[in-house]
């Protein structure tokens, strides 16, 4: 079993209104040291295989096809043996 830990985040040039909202809420709560917040997704996939190389290719494929919108998002992942 391999676990893929995937981070999908907005590209740096894309506005993040959700992050802006959280920044404002943190300021309202008194956390004025917070300069910026960016919010993304974190996915954990359990993959039934032992072949790391194949898993890497397949996860890349999944990100490109379904998990990330590569027009506005970027993804990175790491594979962990479980």
């Amino acid at each position: 079993m391999i676990i893929a830990r995937i981070h999908v985040t907005l590209k740096q040039s894309v506005l993040d209104p959700q992050g802006t909202a959280v920044t404002k809420s943190l300021h309202a709560l008194g956390y004025s040291e917070v300069d910026d917040v960016r919010i993304g997704k974190f996915l954990e996939l359990k993959i039934n295989t032992t072949d790391r190389g194949a898993a890497e290719a397949r996860v890349t494929d999944m990100c490109e096809k379904l998990l990330a919108n590569t027009v506005i998002e970027k993804y990175e992942f790491e594979l962990v043996e479980a």
Copy 2:
């Protein structure tokens, strides 16, 4: 400047319908080796301080008060010097 990388995920005992939907979509696309998907949030906070100890306490506070719903979610974070 310190960057806090925060993962907010559903507790293991809590159902993740979004993850189930993604699992089904992956199966429909032919990725039958995917056994399970859990989906969480990933937040990156830029914090204007150089005091790691203080930052750790403040970020824990932010997670408890705003960023995570500790009834159903757990959080973990790491601090990175930027």
